[in-house]
């Protein structure tokens, strides 16, 4: 098994496209976007089904890559999180096929 970094970004749907562009620009070879159902934060409870515009929807973006690629993306993503709602975590993971990340 080989060590890589796993980036997990929970961010509002309206900013997801820009976050994905940052990941692509950092050279990450892949990412997955998942819908978030509901949550609580900033003293506010939210659900997917309360907003017809879907503008308050949150998504989870997961990407796995080499240390240098993930760190390259972090500065830009930090700027994005300065204005948009979101949470970013990075952790070590073990991968079976290192050439894919």
């Amino acid at each position: 098994m080989h060590t890589r970094l796993r980036l997990e970004l929970i961010i509002e749907r309206m900013a997801a496209k820009r976050a994905c562009s940052v990941l692509e620009a950092a050279g990450l070879t892949g990412y997955t976007v998942l819908p978030a159902i509901s949550g609580f934060g900033g003293a506010t409870r939210w659900n997917r089904d309360t907003d017809m515009s879907a503008s308050s929807d949150m998504v989870v973006i997961i990407s796995i890559g080499a240390d240098s690629q993930i760190r390259a993306a972090l500065t830009e993503l930090e700027g994005l999180l300065g204005s948009h709602i979101g949470v970013l975590t990075v952790g070590e993971v073990q991968v079976l096929r290192p050439h894919r990340f």
Binding site: M14, K17, N47, D49, T50, D51, M52, S53, A54, S83
Partner: protein, 328 residues
Amino acid sequence: MDIALATLLSPIVLFFLLGLAAALLKSQMTIPEAFAKGLAIYLMMSIGLKGGVEISKGDLGWDAGAVMISAVALSFLLPLIAYSLLRLTTRLNEIDAAATAAHYGSISIVTFVAAGQAINAAGLQTSGYLVAVAALMEVPAIISALIIANRGQAKSGSVAGSERGELAREVLLNASVVVLLGSLVIGWISGEQGMQRVAPFFVDPFQGVLCLFLLDMGLSAGRGLRNGWRQLGPGTIAFGLYMPIISAILAAGVAFLNGMSAGDAALLITLAASASYIAVPAAMRLALPKAKPSIYLTLSLGITFPFNLILGLPIYIWLARAVSPGAV
């Protein structure tokens, strides 16, 4: 009084109240998100087609053009009034006030649809071109709010350069604008004959689909209110109730100056009095991401929409009759 009672006891309002009550009582009932979006598109296609068919009968003249220009000007103006009132009467900061003001200058297409039903039930006739007016009134308020937000301190919270293209697409090509204007043109081209072919789908089931959609709107409004009411102070809640009336009075003036019929005036007044909760929130998340959606969404969907649907429509019909020449 009869119109007020008839509106309140109409199936669409009663289904809305059912959804609202269910959500406030924490019922688990939900309508699948994709299905609700499909219903919204269906309703917009239906009113767009009907409007287009009316225009094909020769409904579009200089008078309609004058109303369209007046409505766009009104949509530019309303956010300025809303912003000033919010800053004077509430504790909202510049960004939250600008984002909220945008919602009150733009329109709610569901309120427009419900108004159409109430106006017809009141025995008044409406013109097809008002659908185009609805589509035209979606966007100017967003531009006004961005101009307000881009002054002074609020500048730091406004749209980043790289998001401008995405914002322009969201504002100009959102589902309401594309579907409404597209269906209007299709209805205009295909005319009465074309409409007859699709009437079993777009005309006959319309009322039932509207009930289903209003049930979902009630659920959305109730859940939004339940989750976000703590964010609203008394001044902000009061704004959600008096701003529609101010907008309605200004629109009544526009209707009077344009010599609009009572039915058309009632629709224009309703458009001005309604607050957006579909097109504008999406634009505001891109343009003013630091503005709190829990304030502007809860206010427009949880306070103003129910007010307009339950109490506002009879008031607007009465106002339209008062300013229209020859109306009883």
